[in-house]
C-alpha cells in the first residue's frame, strides 16, 4: 500500500498547474516530432536538454516523459495517413492502417490507434507503478558482479539485436565504448584516447554525441538524399466523434488488451524496444482473426492497427522499468532520459526509488496525465499534425542545426565543443548512410563508464579472477537468459522475415493464388 500512497503523492505534484503545463508542452512537442519522419523523440530530448538546464529536475523530467509518450502517438498518424512511419515502432501500423485509410476508413484507424494507445498506455503505467518498486527492491541486493552481467546483456542485446546486422550493431557499440573511455581515467589518473589534446582530457560530453548523431547526422542525411516528389495525405472526413462505429469497438477491444500484455513484458526486457512488440502483436492478431476478418488482413483490418499500436505504447512504459530500477536504457530515447537524469546528478538505479522517490512518483503520475492529454489532443488535432508535414525541410533542419550548435556551445561554453559536434555529426551521417544503428553507440557511451567501474570493482573483490564474474547464481542466471534471448530473437527474426515476404507476396498476383 506504501507504493499506492507514494503514487497519490506523485499525483499531487504532477497535478499542480505549472507541471500540467509542462506535461502539455511535452506531449505537444512529442506528438509533433513523432509525426515528422526522421525527427524522433531521442533527437528532441537531446536537443532540448541544454535548454532545460534552467528548469528544476521534476519539470524537466515531466517534459521529457511527455515527449517520450507523445512520440509514440504521433508516429501512428503519419503511418496511417501517409504510409511513411514517423518512427520504427509504427512500421507495422502502416501495413494495415494505410490500407484502411485508402479504403476511406482512415478516421476509424486513427481512432482505434489513439484509443488503443491510451488504454495500453494507462494499463502499462499501472503495471509500471506496481512492478517497478519490486524490481527495485530486488535490484538493491545485487552486487557489482550481477551488475556487470546485466550490462553485458544490455550491451549485447541492444548492439546485436536492434539493427538489421549483428556486426554493424556491435561495431557501433564498440565506437560508443571508445568514446565513453576518452579522457582521464578516474582510478589511475591516466589519459586515455586523448591524443595529447587538452580539450579531450575531460572526455566528450554525452550531449554532444547525442545531438551530433541524432540531429546533425540526420540533417546531413536528409540533405544528401535525392529529392522525392511529395506524398499525398489521405483526407479524413467526418467529425471526430463519429469515427468509431459499434463494430469497430467490438473488433478493437480485444486486440487493445492483447497488445498491452504483449507489449509491456517485451518492453521491460533488455532486448525489447517497441518494434519487436508491435510485430509480435500483429502476428498474434493475424493468427487469431477468423473468417472475413482474417481475409481483411493486408487489405485494412482494424485489428492490425489496434493491436500493434497498443503494444508499442505498452512497451514504451515497459522500457521505463529497467531504466528506473536498474539504470539500464534499452532504447535510444530511454538512453537520453538517463542522460537527463544524470545531468541533475540523479543516478537511475536500485536506489532511485528510495533517494528520489518524490521525483520518480511525480514522473509516473505525469505519465497517466500525459496519456489522457494525448487522447484528448490527438483526435481533434489531426488536421494540425498533418499541416506540420508541409513545413519545408530546409526551414526545419536549419532550425534544428541552430538549436544543435547552440546546445553544444552551452555545454561548456567553448567553441571546441561545436567543432567536436561537427565531427560527430559527420560520423553520424556516415553511420546512417551505411546502415549502422545509432542506439548501440549511445547506449555504449552512456553505460560504458558505469560498466567499467563495476567491472573493475568486481575484479578487485575477486583479486583479478575473471571466473568470479560468472560464479554467483544470479549472474550465471542472467548469462543463461542472455543465451535464451538470443536464440528466441533469431527465431523471431526469421519469422518476421517470413511474414514480411508473405505480405509482399500478397500484393503480387501469384502470391494471391498461393494464399487462396
Amino acid at each position: 500500500m506504501d507504493n499506492f500512497y507514494a503514487l497519490l503523492e506523485g499525483f499531487s505534484v504532477a497535478m499542480q498547474p505549472i507541471y500540467l503545463l509542462y506535461a502539455l508542452g511535452g506531449v505537444l512537442v512529442g506528438t509533433a516530432v513523432g509525426v515528422l519522419p526522421g525527427i524522433g523523440p531521442a533527437m528532441t530530448v537531446a536537443l532540448l536538454m541544454p535548454i532545460t538546464y534552467s528548469l528544476e529536475p521534476t519539470a524537466a523530467i515531466i517534459v521529457f516523459a511527455g515527449i517520450y509518450y507523445g512520440g509514440m502517438y504521433g508516429g501512428s498518424t503519419t503511418s496511417i495517413l501517409l504510409n511513411t512511419p514517423g518512427e520504427s515502432a509504427s512500421i507495422v501500423t502502416a501495413l494495415e492502417g494505410n490500407r484502411m485509410a485508402k479504403a476511406g476508413r482512415g478516421a476509424a484507424a486513427l481512432a482505434t490507434a489513439a484509443i488503443g494507445s491510451f488504454i495500453a498506455g494507462t494499463i502499462a503505467t499501472v503495471l509500471l507503478s506496481f512492478v517497478a518498486p519490486y524490481v527495485a527492491a530486488f535490484a538493491v541486493q545485487i552486487g557489482p558482479v550481477e551488475y556487470v552481467a546485466l550490462m553485458v546483456v544490455a550491451f549485447l542485446t541492444v548492439g546485436a539485436l536492434l539493427g538489421a546486422s549483428v556486426l554493424r550493431g556491435l561495431a557501433s557499440l564498440g565506437l560508443g565504448l571508445f568514446l565513453a573511455f576518452m579522457g582521464v581515467d578516474l582510478m589511475t589518473g591516466q589519459q586515455r584516447y586523448t591524443f595529447g589534446s587538452p580539450f579531450l582530457a575531460d572526455g566528450i560530453d554525452v550531449v554532444l554525441v547525442a545531438v551530433g548523431l541524432f540531429a546533425l547526422g540526420e540533417a546531413l542525411y536528409v540533405a544528401s538524399r535525392l529529392r522525392h516528389g511529395p506524398v499525398k495525405v489521405i483526407p479524413v472526413t467526418g467529425g471526430w466523434t463519429s469515427w468509431m462505429k459499434k463494430e469497430d469497438w467490438k473488433r478493437s477491444w480485444k486486440p487493445w488488451l492483447r497488445g498491452t500484455f504483449i507489449g509491456f513484458p517485451i518492453g521491460t526486457m533488455p532486448a525489447g524496444g517497441a518494434d519487436v512488440a508491435t510485430f509480435l502483436s500483429y502476428a498474434a492478431e493475424k493468427k487469431l482473426a477468423k473468417g472475413t476478418h482474417k481475409k481483411q488482413f493486408g487489405r485494412g483490418a482494424i485489428e492490425g492497427v489496434a493491436g500493434p499500436e497498443s503494444a508499442n505504447n505498452a512497451a514504451a512504459a515497459g522500457v521505463l522499468v529497467p531504466l528506473l530500477t536498474l539504470g539500464i536504457p534499452t532504447t535510444a530515447t530511454a538512453a537520453m532520459m538517463l542522460v537527463a537524469f544524470q545531468r541533475y546528478n540523479i543516478q537511475p538505479g536500485p536506489l532511485l526509488f528510495e533517494v528520489e522517490g518524490a521525483l520518480v512518483w511525480a514522473l509516473i503520475a505525469s505519465l497517466y496525465v500525459g496519456n489522457l492529454m494525448l487522447l484528448v489532443l490527438n483526435l481533434p488535432l489531426v488536421g494540425i499534425w498533418v499541416k506540420i508535414l508541409q513545413i519545408p525541410r530546409p526551414y526545419l533542419y536549419a532550425g534544428i542545426l541552430v538549436f544543435a550548435a547552440l546546445g553544444a556551445f552551452s555545454v561548456n561554453f567553448t567553441p571546441v565543443d561545436v567543432f567536436v559536434l561537427l565531427v560527430i555529426g559527420v560520423l553520424g551521417f556516415v553511420m546512417r548512410r551505411y546502415g549502422y544503428p545509432i542506439a548501440p553507440l549511445v547506449v555504449g557511451m552512456i553505460l560504458g563508464p558505469i560498466f567499467e567501474s563495476q567491472l573493475r570493482r568486481s575484479l578487485a573483490i575477486s583479486q583479478g579472477d575473471p571466473l568470479a564474474l560468472v560464479s554467483t547464481p544470479i549472474a550465471a542466471g542472467i548469462y543463461i537468459s542472455l543465451v535464451v534471448i538470443f536464440v528466441l530473437s533469431f527465431w523471431m527474426k526469421k519469422r518476421q522475415r517470413l511474414m514480411e515476404s508473405a505480405t509482399l507476396d500478397d500484393e503480387s498476383p501469384r502470391g494471391k493464388e498461393v494464399s487462396a
Binding site: 529529392r227 495525405v233 498533418v386 508535414l389
Partner: protein, 131 residues
C-alpha cells in the same frame, strides 16, 4: 500564336484560375501553358498535382478545345520562379493565377507566390479570386 501561362494548383482556386485562363485563351485565340511544380523540399505539398490530378487537368483542357501544354514536375526554383520562367521563355502575353487572403505572418514566414509573380511578371497578370 500567343501564349497564356497558368499557375495551377489542384484545388478550387486552381480550377477557377484554369477556367478563367480557358475563357481568356478563347478570347485572345491563344494557347495555354499550364505550370505546376514542387521543389520536393517537404513531405507533403498540397499544391503539387499528382498523376490523377494531371489526368483530370488534361481532360478539362481537351474538353475546352484550346491548344495547351503542361509543365509538371520537380523543379529547382520556387513555384513563382517556375511560372515567371515559363512566361519569359514562351513570351507570354498574360499570366493567370489564383489569389487568396493570407495573414501577414504567414506571408512573412513562407512568402507569397502570388505577390512574387505580380511584382516581377514580364506581362500583365490576371488575378482570379476564390469562387
Amino acid at each position: 500564336m500567343s501564349t497564356i501561362v497558368v499557375g495551377y494548383v489542384p484545388n478550387a482556386l486552381g480550377d477557377a484560375a484554369l477556367a478563367a485562363a480557358i475563357d481568356e485563351a478563347g478570347r485572345r485565340a491563344a494557347k495555354l501553358l499550364v505550370v505546376n511544380a514542387t521543389r520536393a523540399d517537404r513531405l507533403v505539398d498540397p499544391g503539387y498535382a499528382d498523376a490523377a490530378d494531371v489526368t483530370r487537368l488534361e481532360a478539362v483542357l481537351h474538353g475546352a478545345g484550346v491548344g495547351f501544354s503542361i509543365r509538371h514536375g520537380i523543379s529547382d526554383g520556387l513555384p513563382a520562379e517556375e511560372v515567371l520562367d515559363a512566361a519569359e521563355e514562351s513570351g507570354a502575353e498574360l499570366i493567370v493565377i489564383g489569389v487568396r487572403n493570407r495573414t501577414p505572418v504567414g506571408k512573412l514566414l513562407l512568402g507569397s507566390t502570388a505577390q512574387t509573380i505580380l511584382l516581377s511578371a514580364p506581362c500583365n497578370v490576371l488575378a482570379v479570386r476564390q469562387p
